[in-house]
């Protein structure tokens, strides 16, 4: 079974600082995709960043970047220059081509001003 583990139920970061959210996954597949979704208090899920497993280069979207370690099955999210609007629940998710998306339990990120 495919599983996604987020070991940090909650994290805090000072505004303008950097924070890293951890995610590990378990799979025997070689072709798959990884995602980070953000869920603010509005409950609207927003895609933050995605990574294709065959790409060695780590994905980057503005202040958000990932550290993808395929051999270790690790996919952490780094948020630089944290802003108050980054406060949310963050979900790591995994999908094999043609199959469903599997989510982790989530990490609540609190941003302190």
């Amino acid at each position: 079974a495919q599983t996604v583990t987020q070991s940090q139920p909650e994290m805090s970061v000072q505004e303008a600082e950097t924070v890293t959210l951890s995610c590990t996954y378990d799979t025997s597949e070689s072709d798959y995709y990884l995602f980070w979704y953000k869920q603010p208090p509005s409950r609207q899920m927003i895609l933050v960043i995605r990574q294709e497993a065959y790409k060695q280069q780590n994905a980057t979207e503005n202040r958000f970047s990932v550290n993808f370690q395929k051999a270790a099955k690790s996919f952490s999210l780094k948020i630089s220059d944290s802003q108050l609007g980054d406060a949310a629940m963050y979900f790591c998710a995994y999908r094999v081509r043609g199959n469903k998306l599997v989510f982790g339990a989530g990490t609540i990120l609190r941003v302190k001003s």
Partner: protein, 114 residues
């Protein structure tokens, strides 16, 4: 922008009631999904559909059924609601798999079964 609309933001029902949760998307997406979200468990897939009248069980289908009579609408049905079905329900849609397609989510329905 793609819009996924869930008919109710909050819903309170009694044990044993039949409950319908409706979801409509406006972008002609083939795939539609129903997830439930619980603290500490993340999102778990209940059912999904990749075409009209097609459905497949997800990881936790027990106690639920679905209906997809039209491409844009995907309904989740709780045949006889129970208290352990109190949860946040999220609907999502996506294009048919062409790679790292993202899911578009509705705003969720918080269902309380008393």
């Amino acid at each position: 922008d793609v819009k996924v609309t869930q008919s109710s933001r909050y819903l309170v029902k009694r044990t044993g009631e039949k409950v319908f949760l409706e979801c409509v998307q406006d972008m002609d997406h083939e795939n539609m999904f129903w997830y439930r979200q619980d603290p500490g468990l993340g999102l778990r897939l209940i059912y999904f559909s990749y075409d009209v009248k097609m459905k497949e069980k997800g990881d936790i289908p027990e106690g639920y059924s679905v209906s997809r009579e039209k491409k844009e609408r995907f309904s989740l049905i709780l045949e006889s609601a129970s208290t352990n079905q109190t949860s946040m329900y999220l609907c999502a849609s996506s294009l048919i798999d062409r790679g790292p397609e993202k899911l578009f989510f509705g705003s969720g329905t918080q269902l309380s079964v008393l």
